[in-house]
Each structure stands twice: as structure tokens, then as C-alpha cells.
Subunit: 452 residues, 2 copies
């Protein structure tokens, strides 16, 4: 008679990393008892979709729930929502929880996965506690912003011109509001693009009616109880809605309290199996640091793609399987109005910051044969390491098929393709969809001219 | 005093390979005397664009002329049109020409580039000499077909379901004709896709009103002077236009007569510098054989992308520079109606034919996040070598961004990415443009499941 206790796996957090961890754990161990614990009422949804609901592209916020209740049933996952983990006891291998009714429990685990994510960081701006000031992280955040628009808001200000900030600005314009994005740094999308590329994005968004102010901060939020405007330099900008999208802070307190080591960026430190320094405790997603495939140094990419990959690896290992996460390139892409843009690897500025002398190739080309109507201009910037001539980064603004060009560059970086190899690369062609000389190859060519 | 005779470079052929060779030669040697010789009146045009003019996507056939007369002037190229090279004297290093007025010349060269291309092959079908029977190679061919449509043609039949054949069939439907494509082999696109993938293309084109008959040949062309129909098996199909797109025959007679060696497929044999077995004579484009990056065996890809790359290498070397062509993968792509499809490397069938045991991963997914409206279904088939687990081929049908996915797979093949590496690849994501798990990664995952 087989009499083995089923493996008990607890996962704290039930979004991209947590749910993918649960699914991977289930595939690895069919008899494990897997429990997902979330503070939220609704779980398993896509945060990345929130600006697109606000912008009117997707009908309802609940549409963003990628994993419906039937999923948890089918995968035999216990799901505890509106429940907070208050303490991890790593020696006893238990977690303590409290639910919305105040009921506490102590749950034992064999493996524990921390997918605690991150929280929006709101800088200490005077007046930031007023009504009408929002962040963008949960469905509730999105719903509150949507309600404010429906209640007649006319002016929106967004602080922060990262992807979420700009996407929110675009969403407000799409909903007919007058919208302004204010960024303290001298360019938009500083974590994604070099200034020369970001400036094109900025100009395109401005053309479509989004006001963007760079190099200035919001010094004060105006209004009595409710926000009525913000102060930017000498200017007062009216605002019924103020969205703060200035970045996030990792939810690592629970881990820290349990004696789990944090890394350089104060994210949870893990090995390649996403294991923390405490045996049988794993971390995945926005709360976990990762390593750059290029520099081999810690990085903190908070991307859905990395969260699901972290989750899959952590879930497999937590369930007794074997899987490693090899590191990340931070490949990302966006579409704002009709403008696509994307990036992978290091920008020129990031390369320099990492001590790498960049060799850069840039080209402006178009997406179809000369004679084929409807071609769009596309700008591609490639960054190579000057010594090895290996591709270490790519940025694309405009055109069509940007996402898959980014994936092509990502594959090339992962496989250490050199400048000279990329110049010779075999690419596909048909007049309605591309050129005989692919712009990525052209961009490499411009870099090659600098060295030969 | 510097007194050096300028290098004399003659290029026979002035389309993709010839013109790109001339441009590369000019960039390599600013003082060379470069002469392009073409039998045609119009040169430097895109053959690939012809079906799209016929289909009505591009206004005029002359729009396909990518290199206008100003280009030759700017690049200081001598262009001799409507001139035929009748003989190459490799010992004297001269070519003999005859122009449209019967005037002959003997032109000396230091370097000679053969970019003689290929000609449509018309199989010996009874009645093939009738009026209304066309091939698709030159602008004149396109203009004659267009004139026949304008003269009131109602029914078109195309023999051959390769890319050109299908694109012509689609163009006829777009112009309001009843169109039928007849293919002797049991599937469409046999040089590009496996049957399982090609069948999806076939079904989609049929849905849009193109009739496709596979596994049958045209046994007879009906009509008196003018074609009125064709016989396919027991059936007579009416036709005012019959297009023969059953492949091409390499224009290698001139080379053969000069004692230049041909290869396995009777294309001109070259080394990596596109040099033939005769010193100072190069070959480029459709007339030249190339080598598969995967199998290292000869292949005969007749693609514009390869022609321009051949041309660039040949032109650089012919002008005293140094450049090599590393081989090809045959990456290609197409859009017919709204259906995109593409391929790179080996199909499953080609792998088997080359003695490679294929390991296949196939996935049907979609092009956007679940909740984002407008996602299209996409089917991806990946072929790996079973022993090394290296990616050796990819095929995609449907969806969006197919071309750049093919490029991504092409880069991966070039850099010998393995199944296990592709499963871990870093990809970009945003709800309107793609999924968190890129379908290419999913397809690799399905192959991995078979081996672990």
C-alpha cells in the first residue's frame, strides 16, 4: 500500500507569476495540494490590460481576468482570496494568514512560493492624499479611474512617462479628456529607450493630442478635498484626475521578516531555480530580482513575460521538478494610438552605465517595398559591444511588426549574434509586408561601416 | 603621376542581383568602369510585385521599377538595355554583344558578373502555344495579362500552386475573374510548406473564392487560336487566360558555352565569394546555386532576398573588395488576401529528404492577449534535428507579424538555437500586439514534451 503524504505547496500571490507557478506545479506533481493566497478579491488578471480598458479597447475590467474560477477547479488548486499572509515561519514551515473576516489560520507547507509582486510608489508630493489621485495596479484602481471619467472628468494629469504613464495618458486622450504627462527625467520611457528614440515617440504622441512635459516634476497637488490641478514649475495645470505612475516598490517585507535575503535592488534574491536563500522557499515575478543575460548582473525587470517565466520555473521546482531561469533581456513592446515601439537588451545609455562601450547602428527605413502603398516609416537602433561586436540591444520606433522584430533581436542577443553575422542574415521578403533588405540588417550595416 | 587603368566590370543582367552587384562594386571601387547589360528595355524592377499590380494593389507596372534612370547616373553606371551577350571569351576576357539594331560589339572586362537569371519553364502541354497563354516573369508578361483582363476575360486558370501561381490566382479573384489553380503535386506551396500547413492556406484561399485543384495536371489547352479552356482529368474548365507558373529554368547556356561549371541543380557553381571556376567571373542571383546553411548541401532558392545578397557579395569581390556569402535558409513570406504565411529553413518533408530525423513542434495560438479584441489565429510548426535538438525550420500560417516571426526563427537557425534554448527565450509582450507566452515558444514547448 502506497501511503505518501501529498506535497503541500503554498503560493502567495495569484497573478502572472503565482498562477503560472501553480499551473507548472500541478503539471509536475499531480497529487500535490496547491494553495494560492491573495489579498485581492479578483485574481489571475492582466494588469497590463488596464490602460486598454480605460482607453475603450476592451469592454470590461472583468475581461482582464485571464484565469476564471473554472481554471482553479480544473487544475485542483485551492484559492484563498481576500486573505493576507502575516508571517512566514521558515523553521516550522508554516505561514500565518488572516482573512477578511479576521479569521486566522496557520498553514503548513513543503514548498512556498513568494509571488508577492510590487506596489505603486507614490512620491511625497504635497497634496497627494486628495480625492481624484490614483495609481494603476489593480482592477479597482482602473475602475475608480473609469468612474471618475464617467462622472465627468475633463482634465487628467499623469506623473511619470514610463510605459504605464504614457499608456494612461493615451487612454485619457482616447476617452476625450485633455491629458498631460509630466516626467521628471529629461525624456520619456527612460527604462526602455535612448533619448533619441524616445523623442520620436514623444513627438508622435504629442501630434495625437497628448501633452508631455519632460524634465519637470509636480511640486504640488491643488484642490481642497478633491484634486483640481497640479503645479509644474511656474505653471498650474487643471486636473480632475491625477494618476501617479512613478514606479513601484517591491513587496518584500514578508520575505525580509522571515530572514530571506534581498538583492542589489531590494528584490528577493534567488538562484537559477528561483530558490531563495531559505530552503524550499522560492520567489517569482515582480518581487524577485533576476539577472541580465548580457551583463550577468542583477536587474529588476517588472514585466509580465518575466513573471510567467519565473512562475513556471519556481512552480516546477517547488513541485519536485527541475527547471532553471537563464536570465532576462527585458524585451518589451507597446502600441500607443497607432504607434508601435519596442526594445530588448541594453540601450546605448544602459550599456555605458554598465561599463560597455557601445557600437551603434541606426537606420530609418520603411516596412514595405518602395512601390507598395501603405508603407510606414520605421526607425531601428542597434547596440553592439565594441570589442566582441556582439549584439546587446535593439530599439524600434514606428512601423509595423515591431514586436516580432524585437523578438528576432532578442533571439539574436541570446545566441550572441555578432554585427557581422547580422549583416549577412537571411530574412524573408514579400512586397506587401517588407523590403528585400530588412531594416534590421540595414541598421547593422550602418554600425559595420564605423568599424571597417 | 598616377596612371592606372580603371577596372572594367561587366554585369550581365540588371535586376535584383545585377543592380545590387553594380551598387556594391561602385561602393568598393569609385573609379571602376561598370557596365550593366540587359536584354530588356526596362530594368531594375521587382518581379515579385507583378501579381500585386495585376491584383490592383499597385497602380502601374512601371511603379515596380525600383531603380530609376537617375540611379545609374548617380552611381556612374553604364547601362546597355535591349542588348544581348552572345558569347563570353574567358581567355581574351571579353564579351560579345548584339543590340536591338543588330549592332555587335566586343567589350573587354577585368571582372565579369553573370546575373542572367532564369526563365519560366513551360511544360509540353498540348495547345500551350495558343493566344491567352502567359507566363509571369517580365513587366511585359504582366502587362499582357492585365490587357487580357481589361479586354474582358472572365475565367483564368493558373497551372502551378507555388507562390507565384497562387498569388496570380488571388490577383485574378481580386479583379473579379473566376479563377482556378491546378497543381500536379498533392499540395499547394510544396517548396515552402509541409502539406499540413499548406492545406490551411489552401482552405483559406478557397474560402475567398479561389478554386484550387491539387494532384492533377492540365492535359490539354482547348481553343482554336485563342485559349478557351483546359482539360483537367475528366473536367473541362473554361479559361480566357491561362498562366503557366510551373517553375523556371536557369539561364546558364552562356556560362556553359564559356566553360563555366554548373552545379548539382544546373545552376552556376560558385565559391563563397560568388566566384565561378573561371577566374574573374562571378555569378549572382537566380542563375547561381547556393548552399544551405543547415545541410551544407547545394540548394537553388530563387528569391529576391538571396539575389540581392549574392549581388552585393559578387559586386564587392569583382571590384577588388572582400566579401563572402555564408549560405541561405530560404526564408520567405507571403500575403494572399489577408492571409499571411511564411517559412524558413527545412520543412519536415525536406528534413526527411535530407536524411535528417525531424523533431516537430506545432501549436495553434493567437496573436493578442485573450481579452484584446481582434486577435487572429496563428499556426506555427517548428522543425528540429532530433539528435542535436537544433532548430532547422519554421513554418507559419495565419495571424499577424508572420514575416518578422520568420526572421526571428531565421536568426535562431543561423545561430544554432536549440529547442531547449527557444523554450526559455525572452520575448516581448503587450496586450494589443501579442501574448505573454509567444506562440513560437509554445511551439517549441510541444516539441520538448516529446523528448523529455
Amino acid at each position: 500500500m502506497l501511503n505518501v503524504m501529498p506535497r503541500r505547496i503554498i503560493i502567495i500571490g495569484a497573478h502572472a507569476a503565482g498562477v503560472d507557478a501553480a499551473a507548472a506545479a500541478r503539471k509536475t506533481d499531480r497529487t500535490a495540494e496547491i494553495t494560492l493566497i491573495s489579498k485581492e478579491r479578483r485574481v489571475g488578471y492582466s494588469r497590463c490590460g488596464i490602460p486598454f480598458v480605460i482607453g475603450g479597447h476592451i469592454p470590461r475590467f472583468d475581461d482582464l481576468i485571464v484565469y476564471p474560477p473554472t481554471f482553479y477547479k480544473m487544475m485542483k488548486l485551492n484559492l484563498k482570496t481576500e486573505t493576507t499572509v502575516t508571517h512566514i515561519n521558515k523553521d516550522a514551515k508554516t505561514v500565518e494568514t488572516i482573512d477578511k473576516n479576521g479569521k486566522t489560520e496557520t498553514l503548513p507547507y513543503d514548498s512556498l512560493i513568494l509571488a508577492t509582486g510590487a506596489s505603486p510608489f507614490v512620491p511625497p508630493i504635497k497634496g497627494k492624499e486628495k480625492q481624484g489621485v490614483f495609481v494603476v495596479r489593480s482592477l479597482e484602481d482602473g475602475e475608480m479611474i473609469d468612474a471618475a471619467i464617467k462622472a465627468g472628468a475633463k482634465n487628467a494629469v499623469v506623473i511619470g512617462a514610463g510605459l504605464i504613464g504614457l499608456e494612461m495618458g493615451v487612454a485619457f486622450v482616447e476617452r476625450g479628456l485633455k491629458a498631460t504627462v509630466v516626467e521628471l527625467l529629461p525624456q520619456t520611457l527612460p527604462a526602455m529607450l535612448d533619448a533619441d528614440m524616445a523623442n520620436i515617440v514623444q513627438a508622435k504622441l504629442e501630434e495625437k493630442g497628448l501633452r508631455i512635459i519632460v524634465g519637470k516634476g509636480v511640486s504640488e497637488v491643488l484642490g481642497d478635498e478633491k484634486v483640481t490641478g497640479v503645479v509644474v514649475g511656474d505653471e498650474q495645470i487643471p486636473a480632475d484626475i491625477l494618476v501617479v505612475a512613478t514606479g513601484i516598490r517591491i513587496n518584500s517585507q514578508l520575505a525580509q521578516d522571515a530572514g530571506i535575503a534581498l538583492g542589489y535592488y531590494k528584490g528577493i534574491l534567488t538562484n537559477m531555480r528561483m530558490e531563495t536563500n531559505v530552503k524550499d522557499i522560492y520567489a517569482a515575478g515582480d518581487c524577485a530580482e533576476t539577472v541580465s543575460i548580457i551583463t550577468h548582473r542583477p536587474v529588476l525587470y517588472q514585466l509580465g513575460t518575466i513573471a510567467v517565466r519565473h512562475g513556471k520555473v519556481a512552480g516546477t521546482n517547488a513541485a519536485g521538478g527541475y527547471s532553471v531561469f537563464p536570465g532576462a533581456l527585458g524585451s518589451c513592446t507597446s502600441r500607443m494610438f497607432d504607434l508601435e515601439s519596442g526594445a530588448t537588451g541594453l540601450t546605448e545609455a544602459m550599456a555605458s552605465k554598465n561599463g560597455i562601450t557601445p557600437l551603434v547602428g541606426t537606420v530609418t527605413s520603411k516596412t514595405r517595398a518602395d512601390y507598395y502603398p501603405g508603407a510606414l516609416p520605421i526607425k531601428i537602433k542597434l547596440v553592439f559591444d565594441k570589442e566582441s561586436e556582439m549584439l546587446i540591444g535593439g530599439q524600434i520606433v514606428g512601423g509595423e511588426d515591431v514586436t516580432q522584430r524585437i523578438n528576432a533581436l532578442s533571439f539574436a542577443i541570446q545566441k550572441q549574434m555578432t554585427l557581422r553575422e547580422l549583416v549577412k542574415a537571411d530574412t524573408a521578403y514579400t512586397p506587401p509586408l517588407c523590403e528585400t533588405w530588412e531594416p534590421m540588417v540595414f541598421a547593422a550595416e550602418t554600425a559595420l561601416r564605423k568599424v571597417r
